[in-house]
């Protein structure tokens, strides 16, 4: 989903970087506060970041005959809310830009805005909307939407940069969605299933009740004492 190095005009690149920056700064503060106030949540925070690392490294073939990778931001969104995913996702993007020549430094702001900002916030919105549904359904919906919306935003960013000569931005958006969306749909579903299994494992093994995860109720994460039976959400 990454926009490649140098593939956005300088003004666009600067604009997207400015748009993403406040979310990354705010998210970093939220992470620091989370760790300070709830040091027991460090493990889950590390798990959320690691899941993004793993999923965004997996280039998977899809039904369209091309490959793409999941984003991995949905699980952290469910566990901690969308704000923390801005810095965590940006770290992953920076790693890929510097060491994998994937994405880029000039397009880091645009990629962070799509993957680490809009994706998680859209996923969180779905998670909240589905809060009365079975928890697995809410998690699945959040993870799938966090993944898919990332690619919708990427398509929009590219469409803005490369408007179609006849149909303008909408026509170009359709073209880029055609490249990303159909490929991404099955991968998002796979990520959703993995996300449900992982959140269930993390929640039950840490003793946190699903409805008490910070994504729903900030600051309420409880970790069971050693040997204490875990609550199940």
């Amino acid at each position: 989903m990454h926009v490649s190095e140098g593939f956005l005009p300088p003004l666009h690149a600067a604009g997207w970087a400015l748009a993403a920056a406040p979310f990354v700064v705010h998210g970093s503060r939220v992470v620091v506060r989370q760790v300070r106030e709830h040091p027991e949540s460090r493990l889950l925070l590390a798990g959320a970041g690691a899941f993004t690392f793993v999923m965004s490294a997996m280039k998977l073939p899809s039904v369209t005959g091309s490959s793409s990778h999941p984003t991995g931001t949905g699980v952290g969104t469910v566990l901690f809310g969308p704000a923390v995913m801005a810095p965590l996702g940006t770290i992953v993007l920076l790693f890929q830009a510097l060491l994998l020549a994937h994405g880029g430094i000039t397009t880091l702001g645009a990629n962070a805005f799509s993957m680490a900002v809009v994706g998680p916030w859209a996923g969180w919105l779905v998670y909240r909307l589905l809060r009365r549904a079975p928890h697995a359904v809410a998690v699945f919906g959040a993870v799938v939407i966090a993944d898919l919306i990332t690619y919708v935003v990427t398509s929009f960013q590219l469409a803005l940069a490369y408007p179609d000569k006849v149909s303008g931005v909408p026509g170009s958006m359709e073209r880029f969605l055609g490249i990303f969306a159909i490929t991404q749909l099955p991968l998002a579903v796979v990520e959703g299933v993995i996300g449900v299994v992982l959140v269930r494992a993390l929640a039950s093994w840490s003793g946190a009740r699903a409805e008490e995860l910070p994504g729903l109720r900030p600051g309420s994460l409880e970790v069971a004492e050693a040997g204490e039976p875990a609550h199940h959400g």
Binding site: G6, G49, A101, T183
Partner: protein, 94 residues
């Protein structure tokens, strides 16, 4: 070996195996969507104004993606193993 390290090693190996296996097997001849988007931009006559100083060959790229996945898998495995042990690291005696 403590459960957390077993999980860490196990998940790292699993993720690396999946990435390398898919890259060399099923996905070996598939173009990525990123490449398709890049080609669409180039077809519009756009010339990138900046390019990465790092250029990786295909095997190097697979190795770096495997490294990323392996690192993530190791940390995620450690977290899962530590939680399964029921003794989160922050609560162990120092």
């Amino acid at each position: 070996m403590a459960e957390r390290w077993r999980w860490s090693l196990g998940l790292a190996v699993l993720v690396v195996a999946i990435i390398v296996g898919v890259s060399l097997g099923l996905g070996a001849n598939l173009g990525g969507t990123d490449d398709l988007a890049r080609q669409a931009a180039l077809a519009d006559g756009y010339h990138p104004w900046f390019s990465s100083v790092l250029t990786l060959t295909k095997p190097q790229e697979i190795a770096m993606f495997a490294l990323q996945g392996g690192l993530g898998g190791a940390v995620l495995g450690y977290v899962l193993g530590a939680l399964r042990e029921g003794r989160p690291a922050s609560r162990q005696p120092r």
